[in-house]
């Protein structure tokens, strides 16, 4: 189930190690996660749920959803999708809630490591990278933190080339854009990047912002600075349907992670729910990985993503069923079938239109919503704006939220594109440096140029919708 050949990606694997699943030895590679190693070995059920004992497997693959909790070396509730394999590791399925070991040495207490800078950027995707690059060019001392083990955010899973203008990396593959931006970041002495580092909270201590973070699930770090740029991207939406928790029902992002980051084949036959850009791109990526895509179903009467993405998969034989939805997943312990039906004008399934697809994976690509937990927790004013994908932080034209010194950029400010995320990151990075009094006034021109680029990008039918949303999210001037 491991991918070796790929038309775009190269997979490098670490040293071979042995892990034990329920006592049975399995081959794994250093650098991969427990859940992905198990997946490659064909193991789909990772635990049984607490109340109903329902089988559960991987779901988000990025440590957010709790669907992959297992007992590792006797310790329960380990998020196996973000825990690296180690030679000799003992891994057991978790049955509901689990017990802590009864004996343990009390830990020794240490003060957290403190990192002091001007600006803390949270999130190393396109927005965060551009924010860090530009804030440092504008003279600020910057730290960039990201929870993944490589920079680039979702870009690293994208095999397709991006749209926009060439100066905004149009025509360059996502993976490649990530590499270019990372190189750019590394050039600056003013920026330090902390990978595998998750921000877990923002506390305000007077004028100072404290971003509390955890590195490699092991080390507590206090990042202290005067401004924070939150560029934490997006979360996938889920939808309720029968057995939507059966192993084999995955978020589109999880499949991309499995397939394009870890080189593990997600399954043999896939049904995709959602014909927005994520679903369409996923279909194409699956085909590139040698997986059959049985169909894409879409509740709307039309393809929601770019037509060209749809045409790419149609000509490779993937049907797109608009005005259709998924009714249920079927299977014992894992997905064996998906049942879909046509929808009437009121979004109700039409009896008699049910179709069954023999699939082992159901991919949900039903939309993204901004990841705003950090902003919300920090006390930024939050508003629901449908056009931006859900709840977003209210901000001004320089991307500063209602909490002074906290900025936002990219998908966490509203679901859009990598291109606009980069432009917003640039604005937020420069704006933070300006408002801290670090950058000189000449940098305002750069902000204005980025704003013009954004306006141009948003002038089409897709962008106009977003622009409407942004108006609603802007702070009304005093």
């Amino acid at each position: 189930m491991r991918l070796n050949e790929h038309p775009v990606l190269r997979f490098e694997r670490g040293r071979e190690v042995t892990i034990y699943f329920e006592g049975k030895p399995l081959k794994a590679y250093e650098g991969e996660m427990i859940a992905t190693a198990l997946y490659a070995a064909g193991i789909r059920v990772l635990n049984y749920s607490p109340n109903e004992k329902r089988p559960r497997g991987l779901f988000c693959a990025i440590g957010k959803c709790s669907s992959c909790l297992m007992v590792v070396n006797g310790i329960p509730n380990v998020r196996t999708c973000i825990t690296l394999v180690e030679d000799g590791m003992r891994i057991e399925r978790q049955h509901g809630r689990s017990r802590l070991p009864t004996k343990a040495k009390p830990p020794e207490f240490k003060d957290a490591k403190v990192v002091r800078v001007d600006i803390i950027v949270v999130g190393g995707g396109p927005a965060g990278l551009m924010a860090a690059i530009h804030a440092s060019r504008a003279g600020a001392k910057v730290v960039l933190i990201d929870e993944n083990h490589m920079l680039g955010g979702q870009l690293v899973k994208q095999t397709h080339k991006f749209f926009g203008k060439r100066e905004q990396f149009a025509g360059v593959r996502g993976v490649e854009i990530a590499r270019i931006l990372e190189e750019e970041l590394r050039k600056s002495e003013n920026v330090k990047a902390f990978l595998e580092t998750s921000a877990v909270g923002i506390f305000q201590e007077g004028e100072e912002k404290l971003v509390l973070a955890v590195r490699k699930e092991r080390e507590l770090i206090e990042f202290r600075g005067r401004a924070v740029i939150v560029a934490t991207g997006a979360m996938e939406r889920m939808i309720p349907f029968e057995n939507n928790d059966l192993p084999g029902v995955y978020g589109a992002g999880a499949i991309q992670t499995l397939m394009n980051t870890y080189g593990v084949k997600p399954g043999d036959r896939v049904l995709i729910v959602g014909a927005g850009n994520v679903g369409l791109i996923l279909a194409y990526q699956l085909i590139q990985a040698g997986v059959e895509v049985k169909a894409i179903v879409e509740a709307m009467p039309k393809v929601g993503g770019y037509f060209v993405h749809a045409a790419k998969v149609r000509r490779l034989g993937v049907p797109i069923l608009t005005r259709h939805t998924i009714l249920r997943a079927e299977g014992k312990e894992k997905v064996e079938r998906a049942v879909v039906a046509q929808l009437d004008e009121n979004w109700r399934p039409i009896p008699g239109t049910e179709k069954t697809f023999e699939v082992d994976v159901i991919a949900l690509a039903v939309g993204l919503r901004p990841s705003i937990e950090l902003l919300h927790q920090a006390g930024c004013q939050i508003k629901y704006v449908r056009e931006l994908g859900g709840h977003v932080a209210v901000r001004d034209e320089w991307m500063e939220t209602t909490v002074r010194g906290i900025f936002v950029a990219g998908d966490s400010a509203g679901i859009e594109e990598a291109t606009t995320a980069m432009l917003e990151g640039k604005i937020a990075g420069i704006a933070a440096a300006l408002r801290l009094g670090i950058a000189d006034e000449s940098w305002v021109d750069e902000i204005e140029k980025a704003q013009r680029d954004l306006d141009e990008f948003r002038s089409g039918p897709f962008g106009r919708h977003v622009a409407e949303g942004i108006k609603k999210a802007l702070v009304v001037g005093e």
């Binding site: 092991r218 029968e242 629901y384």
Partner: protein, 90 residues
């Protein structure tokens, strides 16, 4: 075969559970959250809360804009106790 429509994986809460509670007159999302424990499990509400908001909007005729988002709390992702006290390394 009929299966459950799961809203919250952490506590096995279904669409029907949420609807039943709303029908019983509990329509404040903070109360729904606490009575069904949606958003109080290890995933901290990332998956379930948007679904609860949409069910609540559908059942009560409110717009999603009118339903406040339950507060996000520190830590925004689970952290081992030993990491917070500073002794995970030995």
């Amino acid at each position: 075969m009929t299966g459950k429509k799961i809203v919250c994986r952490c506590n096995d809460v279904t669409v029907e559970d949420v609807e039943r509670l709303i029908d019983s007159g509990v329509t404040d999302i903070e109360e729904i959250k606490r009575l069904l424990r949606v958003g109080m499990g290890p995933c901290q509400g990332r998956t379930c809360i948007p679904i609860v908001i949409s069910i609540l909007a559908r059942k009560t005729g409110k717009r999603p804009e009118e339903i406040p988002l339950p507060k996000a709390r520190v830590p925004i992702r689970p952290v081992r106790v030993e990491v917070i006290v500073g002794g995970a390394d030995e």
